[in-house]
């Protein structure tokens, strides 16, 4: 019975997209500018039914990628935010023991222990947490495991069964297999090395700061009402800033904030004064702002 179920689940899961170009165009339609690599990996993840581990500096659109894929595929997004101390009860499932207690008290005299046990360890008393929910869902879902590097090395092991077999074993209930294969994205800010076992089960995608052309595209697609010249200028200034040795180079998210600020202020073209006044949107350290002002705007001041 389990065999038929898993093959049945395998067939429809594997073909959400026709081609790499379709992925890229689809992502562009929901406002995510993907390069060749990102689109290729998303396409493969669908075809090979494998999770994607997305790594890269903060604010380069790792989480947004999962959201956009969900939006493009018309799937529900289930999100598991990781933190230190995350455990089985928060990630997989938990028995609703208060309800179980009530159940036992409600029929103190009635049935035998065996019946009761079978009853209180049934699905009615199960609290599903994100991972189990993603597996049990009937409609297509995208599972996002955010900032996986925040959990301890040992906790990672919780994920392994879900990621490779798409199933969850519950001792009292048996194995819950996936009704459909969800697309899984794991993001990491690279604050520690993830275990080999986890990496082996995933496709790996390193998302770095975009190049000039792609950043310009991103600005144009995410910031409504921005002129082409301004977008170009923004992208070029940000590239120059990233080439300086800053404590925290501006992320894509900050670039977008900056571009929006400029649009709201009605600035048509960035000159030194405008840049100086708005630089704090882009850079978050005092030394960085001083340094950028000195390097980029010195002669005009």
């Amino acid at each position: 019975m389990t065999g038929t179920e898993s093959t049945g689940a395998g067939t429809p899961g594997g073909a959400r997209f026709e081609s790499i170009d379709e992925v890229r165009d689809g992502l562009a339609a929901v406002g995510y500018v993907a390069d060749e690599r990102i689109a290729g990996v998303v396409y493969l993840a669908d075809r090979l039914e494998k999770p994607v581990l997305v790594e890269g500096p903060a604010g380069t659109g790792k989480t947004q990628l999962a959201k956009s894929v969900a939006e493009m595929a018309g799937s529900r997004l289930i999100r598991l935010q990781c933190y230190e101390g995350l455990d089985e009860a928060k990630a997989l499932y938990e028995w609703n023991y208060r309800k179980q207690l009530l159940r036992i008290q409600a029929e103190q005299s009635a049935s035998s222990w065996e019946e009761l046990e079978a009853d209180i360890f049934s699905e009615a008393f199960l609290l599903t947490r994100p991972l189990l929910e993603a597996i049990r869902s009937d409609e297509p879902v995208v599972l996002l495991v955010d900032e996986i590097d925040r959990v301890e090395l040992e906790t990672e092991a919780l994920l392994l069964e879900v990621l490779s077999e798409y199933q969850v074993s519950i001792p009292e209930l048996g194995t819950v297999e996936a009704r459909q294969i969800p697309m899984v994205f794991l993001t990491s800010n690279n604050t520690r090395e993830l275990s080999e076992a986890l990496k082996r089960r995933c496709l790996y995608l390193h998302v770095d700061y975009p190049d000039l052309a792609r950043e310009r595209e991103i600005v144009r697609s995410r910031v409504p009402g921005i002129s082409e010249e301004l977008a170009d200028q923004v992208a070029r200034i940000v590239r120059s800033l990233r080439s300086l040795e800053l404590r925290k180079p501006p992320s894509v998210a900050e670039t977008l904030d900056w571009a929006r600020t400029l649009v709201v202020l009605g600035i048509e073209s960035v000159d030194a004064a405008a840049a100086k006044d708005t630089l704090h949107v882009l850079l978050k350290y005092h030394q960085d702002i001083e340094r950028a002002a000195k390097e980029l705007l010195a002669a005009d001041a």
Partner: protein
């Protein structure tokens, strides 16, 4: 294709990437799903399945360029190109445009080498317009003209690259363009700066194109596997710090920053979670309320173990300077994990530089300033461990307490001076631990004027520390 893939995986493994059998199988499955003629998609597929770390991407890219280099008929004259192997880029149009742009009469293709003047003119055009196709054409012609590739020589192409670049004089060109950008009255300072960065990016792109072109020809000449062996480079964490060239040092620097952050997080966690403290009675009682007063889940206090105090004593004489800098930078980057870090540098005299680190914004700048600020030369500027150690003992010896861990960095090449090993014996008696980090390969220890064995008897351990990987392992155990 599968053979090619196996060869490629073998090459990655030889370069030091950990590619497991599962990953190899995944890659084989993945290539079925991408169109073969799409080189970028192939690269994405192989990269996603075989490379599981951002730091290894560079090594992967090099190997990929060699194994899956576009064998486009760049040298073929206009008509014959159609019969060549899979070419992702349409090569002829570039050639024609290039020829037209340079004003070559009778543009039949790239067979006849351009004159130096024509090439220079074309190069200037590329720089001003930033046309990628044209850039590729320039790269091709430049390699034709200057690289003088000798068939069959087992080299990696660095020399050809050097020869081509020297003739093109890209640095000179950049200076010229920058000067123009700087003096143009119509531009504001911001604009000229942006323009300068744009030129820099174009030059870098051209350099890359030339490199790829040379590599492509070498592959045609000698085959992928042979060339891959020649161009293979060590991963950043495996580079020998003492013998790293400028480019490798820059790569090391880039790795150092995330590494130190990772170490700090890992050490912090280890400290908090490694041991359980005593039972926290109050918290346990509080938690028991939700289970009807039965203490189901005992709570424990988190232990706060004391952090070690670190004394770094580093030899910064020429031969080991870069190693000392790296280690100091790393130690300071994770200094929150230690209760106190004090650092001393010496050649034949010794000076304390803790101040320099405390005043600077970040360790990197401090490390740069050490060389100028510290007063480390006593007589002749040749390493004299004996004198430096006895000075240390005289001036700061009493401050080393039983909470301190002493790290000595150096190759212990003492130029046949007195060893002063008694200082280390004293230090070992006072301090909790004394470690010696030696950046030399173990087999050279004790050869020539190296007297590391004499010091070793007074150290808790002497550690060979040639690469970042070894350094990382040591620091993890230290804290």
């Amino acid at each position: 294709m599968l053979d090619l893939l196996s060869g490629f995986v073998g090459e990655l493994r030889a370069a030091g990437l950990p590619v497991s059998l599962t990953e190899h199988l995944d890659a084989a499955r993945a290539v079925h799903h991408v169109p073969m003629e799409d080189r970028e998609a192939l690269k994405a597929a192989l990269g996603a399945t075989l490379v599981k770390s951002g730091a290894h991407w560079g090594a992967f890219e090099t190997a990929f360029e060699v194994y899956f280099s576009p064998r486009s008929p760049a040298r073929a004259p206009g008509g014959e190109g159609g019969g060549e192997e899979d070419a992702p880029a349409p090569p002829f149009s570039f050639d024609e445009r290039a020829a037209a742009a340079a004003g070559t009469p009778g543009a039949g293709g790239g067979t006849e080498p351009m004159s130096a003047a024509e090439l220079a003119a074309l190069l200037m055009r590329v720089m001003r317009q930033g046309d990628r196709g044209l850039g590729a054409a320039v790269a091709r012609h430049a390699v034709d003209r200057y690289a003088a590739i000798e068939p069959g020589r087992p080299v990696g192409g660095t020399y050809y690259l050097y020869r081509t670049l020297r003739n093109l004089d890209l640095d000179g060109l950049l200076d010229q363009l920058l000067a123009e950008a700087g003096t143009d009255e119509a531009l504001t300072a911001l604009e000229s700066r942006l323009l300068a960065d744009e030129y820099r990016a174009r030059i870098a792109a051209l350099r890359k194109a030339i490199e790829a072109e040379i590599r492509r020809r070498l592959v045609l000449d000698r085959g992928a596997a042979a060339l891959a062996r020649s161009v293979r480079r060590a991963l950043p964490e495996d580079v020998d710090v003492m013998h790293a060239n400028r480019e490798e040092l820059a790569a090391l620097h880039r790795t150092l920053h995330p590494l130190s952050r990772k170490l700090a997080v890992r050490l912090g966690r280890k400290r908090r979670h490694h041991r359980r403290g005593p039972l926290d009675f109050r918290a346990t009682m509080r938690a028991s309320l939700s289970t009807g007063g039965v203490p189901v889940e005992p709570r424990f206090r988190h232990p706060r173990p004391s952090k070690p105090e670190i004394f770094v004593i580093a030899d910064i004489s020429g031969s080991v300077a870069s190693f000392a800098r790296f280690t100091l930078e790393l130690v300071y980057a994770i200094s929150t994990q230690f209760s106190k870090v004090r650092s001393f540098v010496f050649v034949d005299g010794i000076d304390e530089v803790t101040q320099v680190f405390e005043q600077a914004d970040d360790p990197a700048t401090a490390v740069r300033r050490i060389t100028t600020d510290a007063d480390v030369v006593w007589l002749d500027g040749h390493s004299d461990y004996g004198h430096a150690f006895s000075e240390f003992d005289r001036r700061w010896g009493e401050q080393v307490t039983s909470r301190a861990t002493v790290l000595v960095l150096g190759d212990a090449r003492n130029n046949y001076h007195a060893s002063g090993a008694w200082v280390l014996r004293e230090l070992q008696r006072q301090a909790r631990h004394v470690y010696w980090l030696n950046p030399e390969p173990r087999q050279y220890w004790g050869s020539g004027d190296s007297i590391v064995d004499e010091y070793a008897v007074h150290c808790d351990a002497v550690v060979e520390c040639r690469t970042l990987r070894q350094l990382e392992r040591f620091v993890t155990e230290l804290a």
